[in-house]
């Protein structure tokens, strides 16, 4: 029983952070049809921004917004330098993936140059923990879940009812039609990039207070976020959130019952099986395949 509780708590914790990462990926995919492989680098950049703020003596409560801001600025930079010049050109599909890989390498190398290869850790907001029926729950974990859930709900409401949120959804449904209705396409793309990068930065700070932080530590969360987006159905916000928690719980159950080394292999086997059986994911609309 306690193992089950342990697994579910770990799953909720991991799922919340994966949700933040994956929502960013799925938003960009939905709006711009871009697979952003620099998402992991934005995660790392956010975490390092927060680390710098904490290092000069300010509390983490300041670090979190700084991380979101820093990652958001980088996201806007990516929009200006990479996405806007390439949009609508032939070969967008492949060239854009390669370009984001290039950005990822450059960002990772830059963090390595600035901060060095030594691992760092971001301190907890509230240290300590409590025991609920033999499961140790750290206060930091509760803070992470709280921040993540609040952000996800806020994002959901923003997408559903705000003017910009509707513009984002309109663009993901049909770009040309949205442009004809007067939706400012480029501004909306920039907005999506900023939101998505900011969420990656937020995930970076939150997860780095549980895991360690190094210039390469964004890779595994990004791969898992990719698994989550594809499992949930690319472009579907609701599917992504559900999938994030399912994947989180799956990962943490494997860790509890089989041991930590098995978590990633089992996830990968699971996703291979999933892609073969249902390639469009949980809530995804099957890709139009006329051929």
């Amino acid at each position: 029983m306690s193992e089950l509780l342990q697994a579910s708590w770990g799953g909720v914790l991991a799922g919340s952070v994966y949700g933040l990462m994956a929502i960013g990926l799925t938003l960009i995919w939905g709006a711009v049809r871009l697979l952003n492989l620099a998402h992991g680098a934005l995660y790392v950049a956010g975490a390092y921004a927060a680390w710098t703020v904490i290092n000069i003596g300010l509390p983490l409560a300041v670090g979190i917004p700084v991380a979101v801001l820093a990652a958001g600025i980088l996201g806007y930079g990516m929009h200006v330098t990479v996405i806007r010049p390439m949009l609508g050109r032939p070969g967008w599909d492949s060239a854009s993936i390669i370009a984001t890989v290039g950005v990822a390498i450059a960002l990772q190398a830059a963090t390595l140059l600035v901060f060095g290869p030594r691992v760092k850790q971001i301190p907890a907001v509230i240290p300590g923990s409590t025991v609920v029926s033999s499961v140790r729950i750290s206060y930091q974990g509760l803070v992470i879940v709280l921040v993540a859930v609040v952000s996800l709900v806020a994002l959901f409401l923003y997408l559903r009812s705000s003017r910009q949120g509707m513009a984002i959804r309109a663009i993901s449904q049909h770009m040309d039609a949205a442009a004809l209705m007067g939706v400012p396409v480029h501004r909306t793309y920039a907005l999506v990039m900023i939101i998505s990068a900011g969420l990656a930065g937020l995930a970076g700070v939150l997860l780095s207070s549980v895991l360690f932080l190094s210039p390469t530590s964004g890779f595994t969360p990004m791969i898992i976020a990719l698994l989550v987006t594809i499992f949930g159905g690319l472009g579907s916000v609701k599917g992504t959130i559900v999938a994030a928690y399912l994947i989180g719980i799956l990962e943490s159950s494997v860790q509890v019952y089989l041991g930590g080394a098995w978590a990633l292999p089992v996830l990968f086997l699971f996703i291979i099986f999933m892609l073969i059986v249902r390639p469009s994911g949980l809530f995804g609309v099957p890709e139009a395949q006329r051929l």
Partner: protein
Amino acid sequence: MTTPDSTTSTPVDSIDSAAAPWRSPKWTAVSSFGVFALILPLVLLRFGAGTFMVHLLITFFLWSVVAQSWNLVLGVSGIYSFAQIALFAVGGWFTGVLSMSYGWNPWLSLALAPIVTTVAALIIGLPSLRLRGVYVVLLTLAFHELLRNYVTNGPRVISGGGYGLIGVPRLDFGPFSGFSHLVPSYYLALGFFVVATFSIWWVFQSPIGVAFAALRDSEGYAVGRGIDQFRIKLFLFGFSAFFTGLAGGLMTHYLGSISQSIFAFSVLINVLAMIVIGGWGSFGGPILGTALLLGLQEGLRDLSDFRTLVLGLALASVAVLAPSGLWPKMRDGFRNFLDESPDVEDESEEGRDLLADPGDGSEHGRGAQSAAPG
């Protein structure tokens, strides 16, 4: 594009070679390259730094084959497979384990390595090729990670306790091993490079090549003309794995070791950069890219930490500014500079560049080529 239906049954030789002059290689260029490459190590080894240069050339031959075969999958047929390094490792590990731990003759295990790699590629390809685009990226990356996990945590014979295979027996060159290990290795790598490059060139020109060019340019039309997408893609996948596996095996025996670091993301990115910077989807691009990147790596050795930064920026800017890579740009520049009557071979190749920007004059090449059969 010659007749797309030629893929199904018509053999190559039934097409009049006069109607398709790009089908025959430029023999003067090829033979002068051959003579140059044969003499090169004998000259280089007379200098102090020559040993290192020969080593670098061997590395170039092996990696450029990997880049070329990956380009065949990634650039030419548009399958976003990221499993190529995993396949390289399959070849390397297979021959390494058999020759080191089971006492097989390295030549025998090396000969089997490409076959095993091809089988592995077909196993990966069967599920992957039923999917499209991003899904293929994820699925192949999943295979990459699974394999990495297996060779790290698997049985000791394979993992080497987490250090990989160290002390793999080198190839025995018999009477030729007299001078040094380097010279026969050089000729072996050269021979492999020539055979692989020629085969890849042949695939580019063969009916299969025409078929995948058609699939890429207009999928609907190509399928309508009866091209079996799945079979062609699976063939390309297996074909490129064959040479990749052999390159992996040769590299393992040449270096005498292979470790888990081959699975590092940076290795994958390096080879990807070779293809993209060189010119993705073109025949000469990956070769140029491999030469450029290996040269860059050696040239920027002093910059050590900045090297990755430069690499990343180069990758991003090439993708943004010249998505078809440097090879087509260089060729166009060269031709404009000479301003002579354009060469037919180059003309035909240009139409085959995947990301050819219609704005930069490649439309002309494509038009000329499709006009040929009609």
